[in-house]
């Protein structure tokens, strides 16, 4: 199989960041790598055209998101609801980031896939609403409404209760 120019370097340089985004989408390290590998494999044959458009990562992200949304429709991904709510971390704890992982993971799993995708693109990948709409192939209005709904659900999520306390008083709701 012919190796496209620059593809190997792109994988080496950017796949780590893609896997982190994919983890937030899938909530599982192995599935995240699976998703990124699948997106990259789909991009392989179009690489020269993608590079000419000067935004290869945006293209790969678009493929990754559409693959994720397709998987969510077609495949069971082994997600199970938990009977016992994990303990919430102490924000002063140096390992709070690590301890937060299951809570964030569970909270994201509580969102429908499209809202989860919007949250990851807007608040992790730091895309604008217009860029997010472009990646997801929807309108900016849809991104806004999905984002608002997702934020509402995350704010209601018991697993993250306490996380927003300061912001609630600051934002006035």
């Amino acid at each position: 199989v012919h190796e496209p120019d620059g593809f190997r370097e792109f994988v080496g340089a950017r796949s780590g960041a893609l896997v982190r985004s994919a983890w937030l989408l899938t909530g599982d390290e192995a599935e995240a790598e699976d998703l990124v590998q699948t997106a990259l494999a789909k991009t392989w044959s179009r690489w020269s055209g993608v590079v000419r458009q000067d935004a290869p990562e945006a293209y790969v992200r678009r493929v990754m998101l559409s693959t994720f949304l397709t998987w969510r429709r077609r495949r069971w991904r082994g997600e199970l609801s938990v009977a016992v709510v994990p303990e919430r971390p102490d924000p002063r704890d140096a390992f709070a980031g690590v301890d937060l992982r299951p809570s964030v993971q569970a909270a994201l799993r509580g969102l429908p896939p499209r809202q989860r995708a919007v949250v990851v693109l807007r608040f992790f990948d730091d895309l604008t609403e217009a860029q997010t709409a472009d990646v997801l192939g929807c309108s900016v209005g849809t991104v806004k409404s999905q984002s608002a709904k997702a934020l509402a659900k995350l704010r209601e999520c018991q697993l993250l209760a306490g996380t927003w306390d300061e912001e609630v008083s600051r934002d006035g709701g």
Binding site: V1, G16, L24, V36, V104, A152, R155
Partner: protein, 368 residues
């Protein structure tokens, strides 16, 4: 950007685990695999026949995983169902029909039937909601449904009527037996055309007047916080929180998995092992539709494969019986010598097994 959005960004960044990314070689392997699948699907009859011969030759030499056959000690495959290189079908959990909607045919509650009190608040994205709990204090069942007529009042200020419809979704309502509750949400907003910059002054309204659909006024005072209705006062319909739906039971989840692995395997070869699926119940468990399974190992890069189980020769696993299934997994050539944990899971809830196999030192790895 609001504080909540900033906090969410921080949360996501602190939660997402660091990753070294994926290996180019793994992507290239997928590309080769995708192409072979496309070939086998798109080819003519003659081509398909030719590919079938090629596949059977590959199968005879250790599967479609393009690696050397297993070397070293192996497990006993006597009586095991042979491994097949077949894609897993999507998992379809058993379905249950949703419960019938609760009855809402009781007489309408009047103000004399209920006691009202505030019951907590919540907020999201500039929307604030205050819940009102109505408890049936009468001796008979009644129902609160639809929207009441609600007015915010304050001496010296004009009365403000609430509008129907809220940002916050709610469940449906139900008949309310004596002692049971029904809720109503009162929403105020931080942002609107009248106040595009958000924020607000002292909430000026402290009294809420509710006329129930069944008749009669209910008045509530909230002197402590009050209502800032610059952006209006919006209502949910009456609602009763719905209990969570029970998850349907999948008989496949009763199966128990364990692995039989050889003591060692060489890097770059195909590990041949056995997955034992046991049925501890007193009922047979059908393998139709045939479940898939996932096998994985984590060195040096995660290896993960998803296949269909070879269900055809089995059909079902009889009560209290165990069926042995031959399994294969490619062990990458650059896997370091030492213990390697193999994880196996049926694509059904909670059926997993794992085992450790020792990767034998090869001349190459021994030198490095």
């Amino acid at each position: 950007v609001t504080g909540v959005e900033k906090r969410l960004t921080e949360l996501l960044h602190s939660a997402a685990p660091a990753s070294g990314g994926v290996a180019f070689e793994d992507v290239a392997r997928r590309v080769r695999h995708r192409r072979s699948v496309v070939w086998s699907v798109a080819g003519s009859a003659a081509t398909v026949a030719a590919v079938s011969v090629a596949v059977s030759l590959i199968g005879a030499s250790g599967g479609g995983q393009s690696s050397r056959p297993a070397t070293g000690p192996s497990v006993d495959l006597a009586g095991a169902v042979p491994w097949i290189d077949a894609p897993a079908q999507p998992y379809r959990p058993p379905t249950v029909s949703p419960p019938a909607p609760p009855a809402t045919d009781a007489r309408p509650c009047t103000a004399d039937d209920v006691g009202a009190s505030f019951a907590g608040r919540d907020g999201a994205g500039g929307h604030l909601i205050l819940y009102v709990r109505f408890r049936n204090t009468s001796r008979s069942t009644c129902v609160l449904k639809g929207y009441p007529h609600v007015t915010a009042t304050e001496p010296g200020l004009p009365d403000e009527a609430a509008t129907n419809g809220s940002f916050f979704p709610t469940a449906g309502t139900a008949n309310m037996a004596p002692g049971q509750d029904t809720f109503l949400g009162l929403e105020t907003d931080t942002y609107c055309t009248a106040r595009p910059g958000g924020g607000g002054g002292e909430p000026p309204y402290h009294h809420i007047h509710i006329v129930l659909p069944g008749g009669g006024p209910v008045s509530l005072d909230q002197p402590a916080e009050g209502f800032d209705i610059t952006c209006g006062l919006h209502l949910t319909e009456f609602f009763v929180p719905q209990p969570e739906q029970p998850q349907p039971h999948d008989p496949l989840s009763d199966l128990q998995a364990s692995l039989e692995t050889p003591p060692s395997v060489s890097a770059g070869s195909t590990l041949i092992y056995v997955a034992d699926l046991s049925n501890p119940t007193d009922q047979p468990i059908s393998l139709d539709p045939c479940p898939g399974y996932i096998e994985s190992a984590s060195a040096p890069r995660p290896v993960k494969e998803i296949y269909a189980l070879n269900c055809a020769p089995v059909g079902a696993i009889a009560a209290t019986r165990t069926i042995r299934f031959e399994m294969r997994m490619h062990i990458p050539a650059n896997t370091p010598a030492g213990p390697l944990t193999i994880h196996w899971a049926l694509l059904a809830p909670s059926v997993t097994g794992s085992a450790t196999v020792n990767v034998a030192a090869t001349p190459t790895s021994a030198q490095s």
